[in-house]
């Protein structure tokens, strides 16, 4: 899901960079207001957890691979804004140190993985968990559902961004300039692998972690609001 350099046009990259700047500013404002001293270390743990989870490449039918993100878990523990910051840190280091995701695509990758994924996952979780007790099974199911929806929607956004490129940017004789595959190829390729395999890995990681954390400290499951 990490878009490399050259697959998105500079204009597309500029748009996503411009979209991300106010989101990052809002995130630091929100986190400043809500993050408790006791939660601060968990921002680093969340970023580190997500980074290492993304190293577990899993084969997908069709000969490619994907990986879970763990970002919905971070969102439901610390809130989506804190998750946005934690995931952004992980994505920026991935791009700079490991070339995983392009430098020019940092805005787009952060939009997909640090905004769409944690926010949609978080709100699905909130919707399903509602007012259920912090230690309840309903919370585990809600977390799993959020994880699945979050990562699949992030994959859909990535597919759309790839797929729009050949429509928008091509040479006079129709040769693609950037990502060469259109929506009809890019969207199913990104979405199916996540619906069938990676989404379930994300569910497993999230649900197991929530079950463990419920036993350790159920206070976590107030969405970072207490």
């Amino acid at each position: 899901m990490h878009i490399p350099d050259g697959y998105l046009s500079p204009a597309t990259c500029g748009v996503f960079g411009a979209v991300m700047i106010p989101i990052w500013m809002a995130a630091s404002k929100r986190v400043k207001k809500t993050l408790k001293v006791r939660q601060a270390p968990f921002l680093a743990i969340g970023a580190a957890f997500s980074f290492v989870i993304m190293m577990f490449n899993v084969p997908i039918p069709g000969g490619s691979t994907g990986h879970a993100v763990g970002g919905v878990l971070v969102a439901l523990l610390l809130g989506p804004w804190a998750a946005c910051i934690a995931l952004t840190v992980a994505l920026v280091i991935q791009a700079l140190l490991f070339g995983d995701g392009g430098i020019t695509a940092i805005g787009a990758n952060c939009f997909n993985i640090a905004v769409v994924l944690p926010f949609t996952g978080y709100y699905v979780y909130r919707l399903i968990s509602s007012n259920s007790p912090a230690g309840s099974r309903r919370r585990v199911i809600a977390a799993g559902a959020g994880a699945y929806v979050g990562i699949c929607l992030a994959a859909l956004c990535t597919g759309i961004e790839f797929g729009l490129q050949p429509l928008l940017y091509h040479t006079a004789n129709g040769q693609p300039l950037y990502s060469p595959y259109g929506l009809n190829v890019a969207v199913p390729a990104m979405v199916l692998g996540h619906l069938l395999v990676i989404g379930w890995v994300e569910v497993l990681v999230t649900a197991l972690a929530v079950k463990y954390l419920q036993k350790q400290d159920a206070v976590f499951f107030d969405g970072g609001r207490s």
Binding site: M1, H2, I3, P4, D5, G6, Y7, S9, V31, K32, K33, K36, V37, A40, P41, F42, L43, I45, A47, A48, F49, F51, V52, M55, F56, N57, V58, P59, I60, G63, S64, T65, G66, H67, I85, A86, V89, A90, I93, Q94, A95, L96, L97, F98, G99, D100, I103, T104, T171, Q175, P176, L177, Y178, S179, P180, A186, A189, G193, Q216, D217
Partner: protein, 111 residues
């Protein structure tokens, strides 16, 4: 042991297990993630490489490209697994440092 320490221990265990992320795809002959192909792979797949990708793909030289050591290309899974674990440790050290710093700055201001 505090919960934070337990979770760091868990992340340590995940670091040691991370080479599974290399070994499993190797076992199933799974290649690069969709849309993350390098120039050579695109050339093989399509017979040509879009101009923009040719121009921009080398924009940034990462010190540990693809969680591996430069010059270790083509080494066996044992070597690449070692580089993978070293990459995980390096990445997490930097990420934790940056995130702790951000946490400190953000929390301090409203105390």
């Amino acid at each position: 042991m505090t919960l934070a320490k337990k979770l760091w221990a868990g992340i340590g265990a995940l670091i040691l297990l991370s080479p599974l992320g290399l070994i499993l795809p190797d076992r199933f002959r799974a290649g690069t993630a969709w849309g993350e192909w390098g120039v050579d792979e695109l050339q093989k797949m399509r017979g040509s490489v879009p101009q923009g990708i040719l121009k921009l793909s080398d924009l940034w030289k990462a010190p540990l490209p693809d969680y591996a050591f430069q010059g270790w290309e083509g080494k066996d899974l044992f070597h690449s697994s070692f580089a993978y674990v070293v990459s995980a440790v390096a990445g997490i050290a930097i990420i934790a440092g940056v995130a702790l710093l951000i946490g400190k700055v953000l929390v301090k201001e409203h105390e």
